[in-house]
């Protein structure tokens, strides 16, 4: 255990935790916006898988990480249109429609992978700041700073984007007209409608933002890991949905939840590689975030109220 509590190992673990938190955070922030508008999207994991494959395949073909992320975004957007049509316009039950999206994403991403790639091929991972073409040199001295360097500067651009999106999401939800509309249609769509807010349009946009972020989250995951395989996400998208409840629909607390998941995963892997705990204990430790989430839900359920119209379709009759 002592070899874990050295500064360098602790810092490295924390830095890894921040990196691991990114896909959770991106997907959960998107889901937060959707749920604030009253729409539960349980298909996040499926969208992430498709985004992950899309991003991975794009990097294989073009070598461009930016294009990979953009393809992830595009895939998320496309699935978002389908999901919005099904849930907002056809009033389909949201939980089950999400399972449909999940199964489609799970199967279709695997199908495309087997058909187009076959055996897992590693790609170039997302570069950290100091490895960025052109400007990398500027960051090199920063990375070398003790403690602060690895924690704050040894990351790829998507990490910074994800964490910048936390205040951005809060701002969007709390300070803009669109955000006000989102919260209004999530709380009381009838009232919002009578005030001239288009419930369908607001929810459509909220869903599109959410699923685009899920697509980006997936692409970020595969580009961070530099690989794709069957069921790459292994449930990250489902956990992202739970994090929204965990974080009581507030971006800051959602971020805290994502960091918790990142930290537990990073610690577990570190302990295992240092042989501090056997594989068996590592499996037990992997339950911790899920159990913590359940306990948090028990504590929060009676204290925090979600959007009143969550999962309720709206029509004017």
């Amino acid at each position: 255990m002592s070899q874990f509590f050295t500064v360098s190992v602790l810092v490295a673990t924390l830095a890894t935790a921040i990196k691991f938190a990114v896909p959770y955070l991106l997907a959960a922030l998107g889901e937060t916006i959707g749920q604030r508008s009253g729409v539960l999207n349980l298909g996040v994991d499926g969208i992430m898988l498709l985004g992950a494959f899309g991003g991975y395949y794009t990097v294989i073909q073009t070598g461009s990480h930016l294009q990979g992320i953009l393809v992830g975004l595009g895939i998320g957007l496309a699935i978002g249109i389908v999901y919005a049509y099904v849930t907002v316009f056809l009033h389909a039950q949201q939980g089950i429609s999400g399972i449909g999206i999940f199964l489609f994403g799970l199967g279709f991403s695997d199908l495309l992978f087997q058909e187009l790639v076959g055996t897992p091929k590693p790609i170039r991972p997302l570069p950290t700041l100091d490895k960025l073409p052109g400007v990398g040199g500027i960051f090199e001295p920063l990375v070398d700073i003790d403690i602060v360097g690895p924690l704050l500067f040894d990351h790829n651009l998507m990490t910074y984007m994800a964490f910048l999106l936390v205040p951005a999401t809060t701002w969007l939800l709390m300070k803009t007209t669109f955000g006000m509309n989102v919260r209004a249609v999530g709380e009381n769509p009838q009232a919002a409608d009578s005030l001239g807010v288009s419930v369908a349009k607001t929810r459509l946009i909220a869903i599109l933002i959410g699923s685009s972020l899920a697509g980006i989250a997936g692409a970020t995951l595969s580009l961070q890991l530099a690989i794709f395989q069957h069921n790459l996400t292994n449930g990250i998208g489902f956990i992202a949905v739970a994090l929204v409840y965990f974080g009581a629909w507030r971006p800051r607390w959602v971020m805290a939840g994502a960091l918790l998941y990142g930290l537990v995963t990073a610690t577990r892997i570190r302990w295992q590689s240092l042989d501090i705990i056997p594989q068996g204990a590592s499996d037990i430790a992997a339950m911790a975030p899920a159990i913590i989430t359940i306990l948090a839900l028990v504590l929060l359920a009676s204290r925090v109220r979600g959007p009143a119209a969550l999962t309720r379709p709206f029509s004017r009759h």
Partner: protein, 381 residues
């Protein structure tokens, strides 16, 4: 009339989904006609294949029957995967503990253990929902993760095959005792005891849901909890019952997957799909497709079982990855769930054409904003 359109819409949805499947096969450079041929051949080509299809359908039917109970009580059970694993773990542990028990005793015992294991795993989200207002979608998802890790832990540690300890450490149990193996019903095929057992389970679920006071209470709670409460029905207790029964049937599916398998052991690939074949999710598809009716879930599960065995053949003959089946399942869910509004619409038109003109008011009275689950929950018998 409702019954008629109720049947047409899922079939229409399936046809559209299969059309998408045909387009996918075409895009992958194969002939959809050949593809369909290969699938039908793979699923029904020989008696042995029909038996294999029935075996593949068995966990879907058990999970699906459980889903009908939960959904009719308006409880969404996404925890099938975890409940399957819980049932499998408890029954496997029992078979490992008392391998020398005679067959007539051990088979009922492992079945019971599976029911208890899955039932308890389902009761947890039930209690959390009923008494702590925890959303069951979230708690079941989390409990899936816990169950998977518990399985990984047990199969890598306490329950690992002693032979594997010193060697490759494949996370699996030893080959379980033959005393617990489900007997084959027709020699030369894989048709085992689990198949008729699942059909019987679906019939029992039907009887419970529609012919007993318990079923009436469950459906009343699902239809309108406030009214049920006013009528003196305990909503909390029925939520727990619904999820426990749903979990128990999933647990039974876990038993079938272990003791009906050829390898006769529990093995993990680190996730859940390696063991369950995603039956916890695919069972939802089968139940939805069967209109959330336990009896219709029987042919529906058989259909989805044939999709799975057919896809295996598709991969063998035309090199089309069998992941196609899962993708199609997803599409079918989307089509079936979103077609509820189409069904409302159809019912409206048909009702109007059948009855005297009370059109304007009739249209206003049609519950267009009714929750789809509620719609599906309407009495169909």
């Amino acid at each position: 009339m409702k019954r008629l359109t109720g049947g047409i819409v899922p079939l229409g949805a399936a046809l559209v989904a299969f059309l998408f499947g045909a387009i996918m096969i075409l895009t992958l450079g194969a002939s959809p006609v050949e593809g369909l041929g290969a699938m039908i051949d793979g699923a029904f080509g020989t008696g042995d294949r029909v038996a294999a299809t029935a075996v593949r359908a068995t966990p879907l039917l058990l999970v699906g029957a459980g889903i009908t109970i939960a959904f009719r009580a308006s409880v969404i059970n996404i925890g099938g995967e975890g409940q399957i694993i819980a049932g499998a773990l408890l029954s496997t542990a029992l078979a490992l503990a008392i391998p020398d028990t005679p067959k007539v005793l051990l088979i009922p015992l492992v079945i019971l253990a599976g029911i208890v294991g899955g039932g308890l795993w389902g009761a947890i989200p039930g209690v959390l929902k009923a008494y702590a207002s925890v959303n069951e979608i979230l708690s079941t998802i989390m409990l899936n993760i816990v169950a998977i890790q518990l399985m990984n832990y047990l199969l890598r540690g306490p329950m690992i095959d002693p032979v594997e300890v010193g060697t490759s450490r494949i996370p699996q149990t030893e080959r379980l005792t033959d005393n617990a193996a489900f007997p084959t019903l027709i020699e030369g095929t894989r048709l085992h005891l689990g198949v008729p057992m699942a059909v019987l389970a679906a019939i029992i679920v039907y009887v419970i849901l529609f012919r007993t006071p318990l079923g009436f209470r469950l459906r009343a709670v699902g239809h309108n909890p406030d009214a049920a409460r006013a009528a003196g029905i305990s909503v909390e207790r029925n939520i727990v019952s619904a999820l426990s029964m749903s979990g128990a049937l999933c647990g039974l599916a876990g038993v079938v997957l272990v003791f009906g398998s050829e390898s006769l052991r529990l093995v993990t690939d680190g996730g859940s799909a390696g063991f369950t074949g995603s039956a916890g999710f695919n069972g939802i598809v089968a139940a939805l497709f069967g209109g959330l009716h336990p009896l219709w879930t029987i042919p529906s599960s058989f259909l989805f079982g044939s999709l799975l065995t057919g896809a295996t053949e598709l991969q063998r003959e035309l090199q089309i990855p069998n992941a196609l089946a899962i993708a199609l399942n997803g599409l079918i869910v989307l089509f079936v769930v979103s077609s509820d509004k189409v069904r409302n619409w159809l019912d409206l038109r048909l009702d109007r054409s059948m009855s005297t003109p009370r059109s304007e008011t009739a249209e206003a009275a049609v519950p267009l904003e009714t929750d789809d689950l509620e719609e599906a929950l309407e009495e169909t018998t």
